[in-house]
Symmetry: C2
Subunit: 218 residues, 2 copies
DNA sequence: TGACAATTTATACGCTCGTACAGATAGTTT
DNA sequence: AAACTATCTGTACGAGCGTATAAATTGTCA
């Protein structure tokens, strides 16, 4: 029942904790906070009821923990991309910024392991919810601001609020694509194809949208 | 306690039913299906528990009724705009199509009565939910198909699936704007201004996105 | 080995939930 | 006025909920 890390430290509880968080992530992503009970999370994780409370605290605390667990990984990936772009000699392009912001999410959401896909769906759910977004959305804001700074350097004449709106709509488009693949396939009358066929279309859409807003905002 | 219609017919139950549906619409929009109990809907509507069941049926049925109640009005407004565009002599422009599809929703969501605003938020919530969208999203599909047809006429070389994706992202952007006005104001560091300042920005973004997808899709 | 801390089990409490239904009330019809 | 139907009230039931906690178990370390 035990697992050993590479450095030899033994952890019994830490592995259980991860299982609980994974189970909560899957269920919350699929059905939302209110539809999922702690008992179902326990069953999904293969532990007893009390263990969820022991590792996760209250239901709200557990939910917040799930939401916060992967923020740093995403922020780091986006920051790395931005740093990479700034380090290179060639001029910064708007397309690179859009790509740099969307790709870390899309990679995890489409090709990565199921847990990341669940997390992506969970974020898509949270973003239209006044009850949860204020608690967690702010964690993504600092990096968004860095990208907004870069966008502002690129299009100095455009009011920042216009860029904010454009980036918000970009994020919304990104999240909706994760949640809507099946629907798009249905509307266009064919089966869902390979993994994330729509990535290029998404980037084209967002880039075109941002450029149009920039042009419109003088 | 009674109300009389213009034609003299007396209706006791119908007015109550509307009150129940209005209350359900407000609460479901603000907090979602699972977070709202029938008892709270009853209290919000100022009726007793049993009345909600009498007029609304089961909780699921009530929810579906709320979702379906305003579909026809939106579909009719969109169809009317499309017919108007087709009747005029000038060439059909992509901008007109985007405007025609978005405006009925935006008008209701921003300027209309609070019930319509609640409905708009409810739809924004539903669209990222696999549990509910299949039951109700299809009601909007026929009109979406008509707009897709018009878009296809305008850009015959573009694969229909690309247009479907572009329209889906457009709708997602529209819905997110309703749900995100406060957040955009926060990110850009100033107070929320007048009603729906972002409407032009939204249309510019979606139009630019669609054109970019059309160009990208050959 | 025995004490100690971390973890897991099992159970209980008070609450709210969705649903159902018998009876009261009111409007309409005969 | 009496019968009838639509609407509303009040109450009850069983189930599941989040949370707390005492006891059992396990692993660690003196």
């Amino acid at each position: 029942m035990e697992e050993a890390t590479t450095d030899g430290r033994v952890l019994r509880g830490e592995a259980t904790r991860e299982r609980v968080l994974d189970a909560a992530e899957r269920l919350f992503a699929a059905e939302g906070f209110d539809a999922v009970s702690i008992r179902r999370i326990a069953a999904e994780a293969g532990v007893t009821l009390g263990v969820v409370g022991f590792h996760g605290g209250s239901k709200q605390k557990l939910f917040r923990t799930v939401l916060e667990r992967r923020v740093e990984a995403l922020n780091a990936a986006r920051r790395a991309r931005l740093a990479e772009l700034r380090a290179q000699d060639a001029t910064l392009e708007m397309r690179d910024l859009v790509d740099g912001y969307l790709t870390p999410y899309l990679d995890h959401a489409s090709r990565g392991d199921p847990q990341w896909r669940a997390y992506a769906r969970l974020i898509a759910r949270i973003v239209s919810d006044d009850r949860w977004y204020p608690e967690v959305g702010g964690l993504y804001d600092p990096v968004a601001q860095e990208y907004l700074d870069a966008m502002h350097e690129l299009r100095p004449g455009v009011p920042r609020e216009e860029l904010v709106t454009a980036l918000t709509l970009t994020v919304a488009s990104m999240l909706s694509l994760v949640a809507s693949r099946a629907r798009i396939a249905g509307l266009s009358g064919r089966e869902a194809g390979g993994p994330m066929d729509y990535r290029e279309t998404l980037i084209a859409f967002c880039l075109g949208g941002i450029e149009a807003v920039a042009a419109h905002g003088r």
